[in-house]
Symmetry: C2
Subunit: 131 residues, 2 copies
DNA sequence: CTAAACCCTGACGCGCGCGTCAAGGGCAAG
DNA sequence: CTTGCCCTTGACGCGCGCGTCAGGGTTTAG
């Protein structure tokens, strides 16, 4: 299948696929004689995984870090970093997840404090909780 | 005083002052014969107020919305939107604050959900709370 | 008088995940 | 053959709050 169909099958756009490829999230697919990209079903599965990871808040940089091992996830539905033994060398994936969690916590923290300061300085006093 | 001194007195940079002026957060100050901006102590106070509001999470757009009434705050230390009667026509300031609070809440909400999904999908389960 | 330090305007850079336009070539249907 | 949609690469746009450089003029201390 060509890029448009692959993109549609994965729920995204051709532009996004070229972007992922350019940034190293997808391997360069084979080309037809005229230079057009040729994707297979496995590629579509991989694209879905990449998109899931991005939607989970990982950055392009994060995902590129362990792009080579992404095929391990293409069979399962949701990526689960099972830890066989608690003292394994941390995989680049779980390291990226840890960093992202820390970054998210820091940002949530910052915004929460900001909200408190803004509400406090203007005389309001509701809470902001949804978790 | 010239722009460098005014900026230093307010704890910021000349570039920021020109930026505030360009975006309508500060009134254009008088110029010397050679075109250099001339600031007074009142201007410094106003700059401080603008910076406080920005640090409180208001956007440039927000602050520009009620820039004309900012002088009301230049004598008090912390801006307090006292509400004389609970059913007043909302000032542009408190409207902006309300919008910012809502935007902050929405963003905190989004990040919190994102964090939960990321933690959940990878098998971790700590909480993220600091408020 | 000269050099240093300041001021001016205008314009690009940043970080992110693509969207969008531009200019050209390919591919299947009528 | 033509029509019309799809593909290719390359480059800019976005939103925010300035930082930073370029290429000048001004002011001030020695």
């Amino acid at each position: 299948m060509r890029i448009g169909d692959a993109a549609a099958a994965a729920g995204t756009t051709p532009r996004a696929l070229r972007f992922y490829e350019e940034r190293g999230l997808l391997p360069p697919p084979p080309r037809s004689a005229s230079g057009q990209r040729e994707y297979g079903p496995d590629d579509v599965a991989r694209i879905r995984v990449v998109r899931e990871l991005l939607h989970l808040g990982l950055t392009v940089e994060d995902v590129r870090g362990f792009a080579a091992r992404l095929d391990m996830f293409t069979d399962g539905a949701t990526p689960r970093c099972a830890s066989p033994s608690p003292s394994d060398p941390p995989s680049p994936a779980s390291a990226a997840v840890t960093r992202r969690l820390a970054a998210l916590d820091a940002e949530i923290d910052r915004l929460t404090r900001l909200r408190a300061r803004l509400a406090g300085a203007t005389g309001r006093s509701e809470a902001a909780d949804t978790a």
